[in-house]
Symmetry: C2
DNA sequence: GTACTATTCAAACAATCGTTTGAGTCGGGC
DNA sequence: GCCCGACTCAAACGATTGTTTGAATAGTAC
């Protein structure tokens, strides 16, 4: 119970800074990510998750306390890194001599799109993100706002600078459409079959398309 | 059992063509629509649905056979009319002397957007539609394809005509983004608070924005 | 060795799930 | 009157849900 908030220390054992790659906790998070993407938060049961992760059923409540908290941790595991990368990309974009709207969008899109290709389960997570958008779940929105609203604020500030002809309400309305559209598109991206081009090329092309698409939508006059 | 496929005849009683507005079936469909929008297909239970509809629990299986079939019928009730209107709007657009891409998009968007404002539960249904997009449910996709693919085909034909620089694969990829973005935006539209303008004005403005947005994304060169 | 904490495990918990049953109600046709 | 089909209802079905329990199993510190 109390231990649910503490950390398991395993792995190669070089002191207590060991990264826990295959711990029970991480196995659960990975399996949950895939199954939440496939069947939704309500549709995937803890028995499916623990079975896929090859851990005991009780391990979820032991390590995470509840299913709802497991959902939160599935987001936290990826979003901590993703938003750090986004902020870093944004800082880099701001330093460009000809910093433009497309660069802001690029800083937002590219780190997320990179998730869909390079690693273990990142593509599933992007689909989980799209689920979260469609869910409109109040508790989940609160969790995301509490933890990552500062990132959104940074981006909104730059969007507002590049789109001075839009009042605040109109800007939020459009950003909502754009972020929803981008998230939906990226979720599908992981599924679409590639042909003839490398994954890196395909991702670059998709990023450029999405950015042009979003920029055009944001710039369009009322 | 057998009766599940037959029709209840109630109401004012002018012959057997009576429209059943408040029948048990319609009450279930209405309640299911709202609760599926709010909690998802797996998240909303039949007990919640029948309780909200003020009908007996067994009525669902009596009239619809199963929960999955109830989900299908929730879609059918709206999509039959919606797609008829979309095809009618498309025919009208094609007759215009200066028929353009924006008119095709208008024929697609406006009937759906009209759902969010004028009637009883239409806004909820648009959110159900957005759910369906995020779900990627195979059985649901098959149902929608089996029943409404001819509508999509008509629209795709015109989009292809207006966008000859895109090959077929690229066109589908963009249409997928656009329809996902539009559906997501329209789902949110029902929730957004209006201020100072009438509902009709607000909807017109939103339609114009969405269409410009989508047209810009579709026209953007690779 | 003992003591202690962390973790795993099988088993059970009450609650809820979709579905089925069988008796009961209602209304029109004969 | 009677019958019949359509419909509603309370109750129960077995299966599955998230969660909890208490014993078993490590591994470390003393």
């Amino acid at each position: 119970m109390v231990a649910a908030t503490r950390r398991t220390l395993r792995g190669t054992g070089i002191g207590n800074l060991t990264i826990e790659l295959f711990s029970t906790k991480q196995r659960i998070l990975g399996a949950a990510e895939v199954l939440f993407a496939r069947h939704g938060f309500a549709g995937a049961s803890l028995r499916q998750v623990t079975s896929a992760a090859q851990v005991n059923l009780a391990a979820v409540n032991y390590h995470f306390g509840s299913k709802e908290n497991l959902i939160n941790e599935v987001f936290r595991r990826r979003l901590d890194g993703l938003n750090t990368e986004r902020l870093a990309a944004l800082a880099q974009a701001r330093a460009k001599p000809a910093y433009a709207l497309e660069d802001t969008l690029d800083a937002f899109v590219r780190p997320a799109l990179a998730l869909t290709g390079d690693d273990h389960g990142g593509a599933a997570f992007v689909r989980v993100l799209a689920r979260a958008y469609a869910e409109h779940n109040e508790r989940l929105r609160k969790f995301l706002h509490d933890n990552y609203s500062h990132v959104l604020k940074e981006f909104v500030a730059d969007f507002a600078r590049f789109l001075p002809h839009l009042d605040k309400q109109e800007l939020y309305w459009r950003l909502d459409i754009v972020s929803g559209a981008l998230t939906y598109a990226m979720a599908d991206f992981g599924v679409i079959k590639r042909r003839g081009v490398s994954e890196q090329q395909h991702r670059d092309l998709a990023a450029r398309h999405l950015i042009r698409f979003a920029a055009a939508g944001l710039r369009a006059e009322g």
